[in-house]
Symmetry: C5
Subunit: 95 residues, 5 copies
Amino acid sequence: MNIGRVIGTVVATRKDERLIGCKLMLTQPVNVNEETVGEPLVAVDTVGAGIGELIIYTKGTAARHAAEKLQSPIDAAIIGIVDNIDLYRDLTNKK
Amino acid sequence: MNIGRVIGTVVATRKDERLIGCKLMLTQPVNVNEETVGEPLVAVDTVGAGIGELIIYTKGTAARHAAEKLQSPIDAAIIGIVDNIDLYRDLTNKK
Amino acid sequence: MNIGRVIGTVVATRKDERLIGCKLMLTQPVNVNEETVGEPLVAVDTVGAGIGELIIYTKGTAARHAAEKLQSPIDAAIIGIVDNIDLYRDLTNKK
Amino acid sequence: MNIGRVIGTVVATRKDERLIGCKLMLTQPVNVNEETVGEPLVAVDTVGAGIGELIIYTKGTAARHAAEKLQSPIDAAIIGIVDNIDLYRDLTNKK
Amino acid sequence: MNIGRVIGTVVATRKDERLIGCKLMLTQPVNVNEETVGEPLVAVDTVGAGIGELIIYTKGTAARHAAEKLQSPIDAAIIGIVDNIDLYRDLTNKK
């Protein structure tokens, strides 16, 4: 899983019918300092994530398990809201 | 899922027979500013996407679900047409 | 799926027995201008691709479907010969 | 699989219920010199890994096998504690 | 699949029990000139690969098929020893 921030939503009227009712959240991957890493992806929300929240997302078949839609075209899903990151900073650059 | 733009089509007469009838769309990944990111991929259209349209695509097993061809060699599919991206720009670089 | 060019073959006498009879093609990913992108991979040919041909390849479980060897260690396969790429160049850098 | 170092934990009260009881370890990928490579991911611990330990992690469906939670949204898991890396340094840059 | 060189082994006493008996080979991805590309991964040997040998490895579910351990946490496996790479060099930079 990876950490990201919800930075928006994507509206698509014409879409796979198995996505109807799914909230498509624009999710920006971030690092442990909550800084932007790479480009945003579109993840289905499964935990009631709000705009601006720090979240955990999963990819691939795991995302369909998260959404409980195994036969769907979903390949990314938000599965948790981050309360806190306990980071041992002296380890992050340890040789 | 990711956001892309349909920039062309790929014609292949000699191909896996399970691809017959599939439209192979050249799909350019784009960022939230609709700028080019990385190299185009070939995705099967499942929603009637047109050249130039901004779309959502999915990858892996999810793409075979999208195409409803589970036993096929498809690993990327277009699953929605983007109407709008609601982006909270002040969040995109938030520390 | 992605576009590549067949640039060689790989010979391996000692290998997983489920690869016996599979042609292992050295496949160079290319962009829409047919320029080299990243490093070559080894893909199983399923369509009679020849050296130098522009092809479509697939990855992951999709490759085992292509080869019709679901229980094999194959994770990449050539699934089509590209006849033509219809590219709308004015879209490739569109904002 | 890849080698990483456990550099922290992630606390998430609101999450997929199938993650309850799973320890979410912030895992920094490292190279053979134990130097940082890329950004940390969130992996479920399945072997009792401690903060600062060098570990082996796996991704995708393999991670759900590791956690013995096949129907869960897990896509990364720690599956071993590294005792030693036997590296033949003269091979690392061999042409 | 990709080409790599076995550059060492990883010793892990505390590990997922389904890895017991598996040889964990430190595998350096290489290009067609046998030069280092990116960082090493940990792959399970299934063909009796030796230190220093040029090999073919596979990833994901394909690796569990290779190891014939479908329910295991394996996500990378060595599946062949490269005897020869027949490379058509004039094609590698062809436009």
